[in-house]
Symmetry: C2
């Protein structure tokens, strides 16, 4: 409308997952006003995804302008060029998402790593609230993470900080899909556990919950490996808190006791500096919440 100036601009966060795409709309102060999702499989092409998200944003923005949008996407992504490279869970390659979404909305658009955004969401609005130094870990099909250092997301020199699943836990361990030997992921990712047991990770955790001894033993060993990674991360980074999300965190009672026991077993990490270990609170919404926060920070 000519001559009309919006009272304030809005923000949007888009979480592009292998199963679902989620869009959140927020006021300029970060307060959410709408949250919409659809199945990724319904959006046949990147352009269809962009059109759907832009349409939802347009439908919910009212008379406000949307100033800043962050798209959280699975790596590898090229943050500088705004390109989705070749995500393992999506059949899309070298998609210039930032340019496409910018054309569709007129907003400033940024691409960000989905685990970073989930960590940022948990830090500002979930289990990490009130801390200054937090390590977010997502444990599901893969193992990823995001680092909050002194109150700010640390993306690293090339945007790839927080690749916790690719820390080497045992140099004589199995070969991971990434090509490294003995990565944390090679031992404990959902994919690795499924390969090892011949069951899906969901079946394995269900069996462990039902008391199956062999399933329990596999889950406990995985939790012990994660605990070892927590020790290394504590010694390297000295965080106040670990926040853990992802599918495995739904089976918290199965993994938490062994993880915290392993962390406590280190005599070098005295109780006074031992980080807390908490389950994520925002569930599947963490990515979109963090993406809105990132859009706010970088608007």
């Amino acid at each position: 409308m000519k001559g009309h100036y919006p009272s304030r601009a809005m923000l949007a966060g888009i979480d592009l997952g292998g199963t679902q795409v989620r869009v959140a709309l927020a006021r300029s102060d970060g307060h959410l006003v709408a949250s919409i999702k659809t199945k990724t499989a319904m959006l046949a092409t990147p352009q269809a995804m962009v059109d759907w998200a832009a349409g939802e944003i347009d439908r919910h923005r009212g008379r406000e302008k949307v100033r800043s949008i962050t798209i959280a996407a699975p790596g590898p992504i090229d943050i500088k060029r705004g390109v989705l490279v070749n995500p393992p869970n999506l059949p899309w390659q070298n998609v210039p998402l930032v340019a496409m979404m910018g054309r569709a909305t007129g907003a400033k658009v940024q691409l960000a790593n989905d685990a970073d955004m989930a960590g940022l969401g948990e830090f500002h609005h979930g289990a990490g609230r009130g801390s200054r130094n937090m390590v977010y870990i997502t444990w599901s099909t893969g193992v990823g993470g995001g680092l909050i250092i002194d109150g700010k997301l640390h993306r690293g020199a090339h945007g790839t900080a927080g690749e916790i699943g690719h820390m080497i836990i045992d140099p004589n361990g199995p070969l991971d899909n990434c090509g490294q030997r003995g990565c944390l992921e090679a031992f404990i990712s959902g994919t690795a556990l499924a390969r090892e047991t011949g069951h899906t990770a969901a079946e394995l955790f269900a069996a462990a919950a039902a008391g199956d001894r062999q399933a329990r033993s596999v889950v406990e060993r995985a939790a012990r490996y994660m605990g070892i990674a927590l020790i290394s991360l504590t010694n390297a980074l000295d965080p106040e808190i670990f926040v853990m999300g992802g599918g495995v965190s739904r089976s918290w009672a199965l993994v938490y006791p062994t993880m915290i026991e392993t962390l406590r077993s280190s005599p070098f990490i005295k109780p006074a500096r031992r980080p807390r270990l908490r389950r994520a609170r925002l569930g599947d919404r963490a990515g979109q919440v963090g993406a809105v926060e990132w859009a706010r920070i970088n608007q």
Copy 2:
């Protein structure tokens, strides 16, 4: 002198090592004007050390006041209370160094971890200049480090970030002095190498330099373990550069090729995001230079 106001205040950095104590005096902009050292063994008590350092500072400050002093000391230290707890290389326990030095000089005094200060020195004035994200590693009797994140020293939530020697490299490895099993230190610290070979680390590296095959093989294995730690740190932190100091870095030609080859062997760490690996430049002066810098930042 009554009625005299100094034109500008000065800074001092003190590096309290097991072998030498070093004092550096600088103008308020960080420019060094004096550097003095003595043997730690000459200073029988903490008070003697404080008196010597305060005397040297007083002797070199001219008509200027010294506003801010940082003491770099080996851990464990209590940064908040300003207390040296029980350093492994000094026969001193629970020494309230900050209070003592404050009384002796009238300056604002801070205590800091020596590896953090060496890292800060290398970042501002040594091999890390021009970077924003740097991991400093000191490899000698023990293995320690300091993290520079986005241009700032990251000390962590409890001042213990950068304990790189206590990252777990192999959970089935040997028991370290710290009580953890399979720490990097348990494999490659000077102490561990001496215990394993029955020679001092200096003898081992001299033999390797002279071409002794067995010594070379031990040194190469140690460098490979360090390379594995570099892979884990790269995936966790995504730094631009590793800077390595400490006694072992003097044998750079013996350890660098294996370390960089190991880092390059990771297919997950693509060349575009592979950090550089550089030898430290400031030698034994890194700690005092970093301490002056920290005194400047916190004046």
